[in-house]
């Protein structure tokens, strides 16, 4: 009888390469536990009013993560799954584009205070489109310029948002008085 069951493909222990990887499922619980521990240690010496919520929510979160760990542990013990990360960190072409987008956005934020929103936004739009494979110069320049102009008019001139100003904003303000 047992032999018969093993003949069924669904019941045969799967090869490691065929088993789904659930290691990535532990990233969010790992971050949650790390943050909760940091929060609870940081509030340990405070009055009960300041830490009551953290303790209530944090303990519930620990309990939920523990249940998740037990669940994953049981699946690994039954050889249904592995602790790998699957394709999450694989260096595929879209993954490289994602990393490029994060780096460009970070550079945009870092340089915003010095170059101002007009130059920064134009450069970020241009670089992001290039990183994603756009090679038509008219699109690259036209869309970057159009977006920058729209943001300038809507956010700086109309909504009077105090976005960081740079050389372009100062020159426009000096010439027209707009967004001064």
């Amino acid at each position: 009888m047992a032999e018969n069951n093993l003949n069924s493909p669904a019941d045969q222990p799967r090869l490691e390469s065929e088993r789904p990887a659930v290691g990535a499922d532990l990233i969010i619980p790992g971050l949650a536990v790390a943050f909760t521990t940091y929060y609870l240690i940081g509030t340990a010496s405070l009055t009960w009013e300041a830490k009551a919520n953290g303790v209530v929510v944090g303990l519930l979160l620990y309990a939920l993560v523990a249940v998740q760990l037990v669940r994953i542990g049981l699946r690994i013990a039954r050889r249904e799954t592995t602790l790998g990360f699957g394709g999450l960190f694989e260096m595929t072409s879209p993954q490289k584009q994602r990393i490029a987008l994060v780096v460009i956005t970070a550079l945009f934020i870092v340089t915003l205070s010095w170059v101002g929103v007009a130059i920064g936004l134009f450069a970020a739009m241009f670089a992001s489109m290039w990183a994603l494979g756009e090679r038509d110069w008219r699109s690259l320049i036209g869309v970057s310029l159009g977006t920058t102009a729209t943001v300038y008019l809507l956010f700086i001139v109309f909504l009077q948002l105090r976005l960081p100003r740079g050389p372009v904003e100062y020159v426009i303000a000096w010439l027209t008085g707009a967004g001064a």
């Binding site: 969010i28 943050f35 929060y39 405070l46 953290g54 956005t105 970020a124 494979g133 977006t147 909504l159």
Partner: protein, 510 residues
């Protein structure tokens, strides 16, 4: 507080006379609503100096119209690019975006627009009629009940948004934990801020929303040529046939629009509850009472109608406690309160006796703005749906740069841009590993409120947690929480058993 026929006619006349401000305000509100980071409340704050200089009637008509139409605008990016314009349109993404991916973006927009306007229209009319009787409802929910309402909301969201209840709950409680970042309510001691002054006021919701939804989604989008490739859809040219098809589906689910709008209105009356909770509760209730619950999340029309109708039903409901007892139901009504107080208006029950034209007028202006919206939006839907054919190499940079600036707009801190980027990475990891970002966001959103109500309850009970089970209403709500946890689990087990039985039958047949 009976109805005066002459007053009724006068208010209708006033609403028509104020069309010159209502029409541009509606257009403005739709655009603002569609931009993440620009909620009705912070836009009204930016425009406060302008509204303070207007006549009171004009200012109220302007604010009511921007408020109502921004709720509608939030559904546009939610449907087209899976990026909710505000918290109230988060559930719209569950079925709106799948419809877009199926090439039915235009129908989805029509569903959203019609449900929003009809929902808002009937509830604003109902509010006018029922105002004197609705106002005291908000007083029945005290801090103990509010704690349970929050837990209930979180559990519902975990059950709705995630395929896996446990993952949904972990996401929700992690969000709740992040929502506790900031200075405590009594001694102002910073907690969990990593030493950043910018986090003393808590995690900025706009940065979290933009990162978790808008930017995280763009990281997934890069794998496709366009959100919906032109070859797979027939919406390259906007067609009236799709608009009419959307209207037909709306008509088919007319009852859904009505009851979820009233549900939204009732939730709106509870101070602090707001559009986010209303739209989630409406989505969950709609799925619970549906004969086809398994279709929700796959591009099922009631999954758009329910949250959109409810979050517009909230708009008139939120103004009820403001007008009737002087307690603002949400951030936007708090801004309205500032304007009214600046003009020397004392809010509360006497408002309806001393200045009935003003008290009821707001709801008439809102009704008029919904009527204007209904006429404007159907032609707009035809062209908006074309956005999804744009190549991702253009739309992704556009979304990232515009939303990062939106993150800055709320508090004008560069720090918030960094936070949006960090939340984007977190959101992308959550998306890829099945921890739905909605739970995280709602946890962050409810965190400060949850803390406020739990602390109040604990102080009342002198630190004793059993106070949370001290009222009948709270206990009923606890039972509902337990049921919400058990029912999805039982349903999954039932489905698994049915599948096993079907498998056994098939094997024995072989």
């Amino acid at each position: 507080m009976g109805w005066d026929g002459a007053l009724f006619v006068e208010l209708i006349g006033n609403s028509f006379q104020l069309l010159w401000v209502i029409v541009p305000a509606v257009l403005f509100g739709i655009v603002i609503g569609a931009l993440p980071g620009f909620s009705a409340s912070n836009t009204l704050i930016i425009l406060l100096p302008l509204t303070l200089t207007m006549d009171l009637d004009v200012a109220l008509a302007f604010m009511a119209s921007v408020y109502a139409s921004s709720h509608l605008g939030g559904g546009i990016p939610a449907i087209l690019v899976n990026m909710p314009g505000d918290g109230g349109s988060v559930p719209t993404t569950f079925d709106g975006y799948p419809m877009t991916l199926q090439g039915k973006g235009q129908q989805a927009l029509v569903l959203c627009f019609v449900a929003s306007t009809i929902g808002g229209l009937i509830t604003s009319l109902a509010t006018v009629a029922l105002l004197p009787y609705l106002a005291p409802l908000g007083l029945y929910l005290r801090s103990v009940e509010m704690v349970v309402v929050m837990v209930f909301g979180l559990v519902l969201i975990a059950a709705i948004a995630s395929d896996d209840l446990l993952k949904g709950l972990i996401g929700g409680f992690f969000g709740l934990m992040l929502g506790l970042i900031g200075a405590d309510h009594i001694y102002s001691t910073p907690r969990g801020t990593f030493g950043f002054l910018e986090l003393y006021d808590g995690v900025p919701i706009v940065a979290a929303l933009i990162g978790l939804f808008a930017i995280a989604e763009t990281f997934s989008m890069v794998e496709r040529e366009a959100i919906v490739p032109k070859s797979e859809t027939d919406i390259a040219r906007p067609r009236w046939a799709d608009t009419i098809d959307g209207l037909r589906i709306n008509l088919k689910y007319w009852w859904q629009t009505i009851w979820t709008a009233f549900l939204g209105m009732l939730i709106g009356i509870v101070p602090g509850a707001g559009a986010t909770i209303a739209s989630f509760v409406a989505y969950q209730q709609s799925r619970m009472f549906s004969k086809t619950p398994h279709l929700y999340g796959t591009g099922h029309p009631p999954g758009i109608i329910a949250p959109e109708s409810a979050n517009n039903g909230v708009t008139s409901g939120t103004l009820v406690p403001l007008m009737a007892i002087g307690v603002p139901g949400g951030a936007t009504s708090a801004v309205m309160m500032v304007v009214l107080q600046y003009q020397g208006i004392v809010l509360g029950p006497r408002l309806f006796i001393e200045t009935p034209a003003l008290a009821y007028g707001v709801f008439f202006y809102m009704t008029m703005s919904y009527a204007v919206m209904l006429l404007m939006i159907l032609p707009l839907a035809r062209y908006m749906s074309k956005v999804v054919n744009m190549p991702t190499r253009i739309i992704v940079p556009l979304i990232i740069t515009l939303t990062i600036i939106g993150a800055f707009a709320n508090r004008e801190y560069i720090f918030d841009m960094w936070l949006a980027l960090i939340f984007a990475v977190l959101g992308y990891l959550a998306l890829r590993t099945g921890y739905h970002v909605t739970g995280l966001l709602i946890g962050i959103l409810l965190g400060p409120l949850f803390e406020q109500y739990l602390l109040r309850s604990l102080r009342l009970g002198q630190g004793d947690l059993t106070i949370l089970f001290s009222s009948t209403l709270a206990n009923i709500l606890w039972v509902l929480v337990v049921l919400s946890l058990l029912l999805p689990w039982l349903r999954t087990r039932q489905t698994q058993r049915a599948l096993e039985r079907a498998g056994d039958t098939a094997r024995s047949g072989l």
